[in-house]
Symmetry: C2
Subunit: 354 residues, 2 copies
Amino acid sequence: MTAQQPSDKALVPFVSVDHMMQLIHRIGLEDMLRGLGEYIEQDFRRWELFDKTPRIASHSAEGVIELMPTSDGEVYGFKYVNGHPKNTKEGLQTVTAFGLLADVSTGYPVLLSEMTMLTALRTAATSAMVAKHLAPKGADTMAMIGNGAQSEFQTLAMKAILGLKSVRLYDTDPAATRKCAANLAGHGIDVVACATPEEAIEGAQILTTCTADKQFATILTDNMVGSGVHINAIGGDCPGKTELAAGILQRSDIFVEFPPQTRIEGEIQQLAEDHPVTELWQVISGTAPGRTSNRQITLFDSVGFAIEDFSALRYVHDRLADTGLYLALDMLADPDDPRDLFGMLQRATPGAAA
Amino acid sequence: MTAQQPSDKALVPFVSVDHMMQLIHRIGLEDMLRGLGEYIEQDFRRWELFDKTPRIASHSAEGVIELMPTSDGEVYGFKYVNGHPKNTKEGLQTVTAFGLLADVSTGYPVLLSEMTMLTALRTAATSAMVAKHLAPKGADTMAMIGNGAQSEFQTLAMKAILGLKSVRLYDTDPAATRKCAANLAGHGIDVVACATPEEAIEGAQILTTCTADKQFATILTDNMVGSGVHINAIGGDCPGKTELAAGILQRSDIFVEFPPQTRIEGEIQQLAEDHPVTELWQVISGTAPGRTSNRQITLFDSVGFAIEDFSALRYVHDRLADTGLYLALDMLADPDDPRDLFGMLQRATPGAAA
């Protein structure tokens, strides 16, 4: 061991994309979605404990780069995430992400992880955990409008957490629907490819919209949505990007993660600033009503919040230790004497005695 | 090559602490300090281009964790940094840091780097670059009050950028002074260990204070500071942490990085909110005067700003390509079809055909 060999505290476990995929297969995708849903639900129950701040966004003509920090007082976490709709044309992902957990008492990072894959799982697990609280009893059929990268995860999370039996797929691009249907084959769920959105919502109690246009779009029109459904609106998640006709919002009871963020980024940016919404953590902790009748339209105006990423990182951190599915990164300078950073550098001179 | 093998775009170069130390030795510490000073100076000249925001801090009883983002419109960068004064007692660093650069047009990260070591260099390079603009002509002697982790870097940056010939060391702990003097031996600078701060400032035209107490302290009292000096105040860098008597501030012309941040974190938190200060970028770009007389006291109230970290990461990124001193991290999920994240996961099933 040479003088500059880092100590354990200076090494940060890093979960690569490949590690994450292996971890998902090791645990089992549906089990992991259920586990993530439980961690997210736990953190919604202790919502008031958390340091909450809207994400810190850096906008450009091409897209946005955001930092989403939060802390429960013992653990600190943040996610880096970009959103660049034009990336797809260049063969790149619209959204990529990574995240970090740190120990509040020392400030030392304890986990660095890819989060492109993990965000897909946590978004789906959040949707399904929320649907478990808000969808009509016995809901077993979902319309999945938008059959992109999130669609299979949404479907399997609804199966794992809510007992979904059937999914009805629609996308403006039939190739996306074919891809989604092929991916879901053999996963124990009935898959129906539909030619129109109207056909997709037939008989569905849960309507999930997840499209990617960065502009005001109307994926569901007012006359398409009848009573007694739960709408899970995923795609409207930044200023100028919405998916639902305003008329639907007016007829719905609206549930959100963190109002200051959702009012800027969610479907409700179409409504007055004081339009009533219910915070999900209150429903989940039992201090506000969720669904109160079978005729009601409930709407989860999902934009994604830092606490869900925190929960997901916490889950990965808890499941990682025994797996070996990480790389220990020499990320923190850790001199024997903390005041002697310079001495550490000098001892690392090539050829210097260890 | 298997189906899940990441493409080049999905791989992010990571510079570990060991890589950074090797890079410093490869370039040479003083050359690197000069190079960093030039990059920082360039970015101060184009200051108005940058997206500037005060750091986003998460405070706890034990310390603080901060994110410091910025962007010049083409490149985005942020630094994660903690400050935990009690860490030293547990054999940990008070401050650790890492940073990231990303391409604004795609949102994809292009560099992840340790920044504990790099922050020490950029802080020193910033001090010396600023002293080059503000210190009295011919300044060649510095008092270095506080002989901790930053002291050697400050001294050698002043030598490399300003031509410092002599440093006079003082610390309340004589062991720190002995460590600093030993580390500086053989670096071509005259080192004088002093028993009192009064002795240390004798004949010095530059007074650098860099102590670590998280409380209002008075490292320099009013009667210790005569006319015609440049004060480089490093240690006062968070709310409640200052080093200089208010009387010195009243007699000085004060120069700062980013006033909204310095008024909260710097020495000037002791002054009225509208006390006049000069922004350094204006001095460096020639739109505001710096030192105007030999009798003047100039004070750089340094707290560290995101743009300096951005410059330092930019320098490392530019110097890295040929060195091989990095590890390519599989950090971004990169499916062949961006809409088919699920297919990528399925193809990574252990035992699946590639």
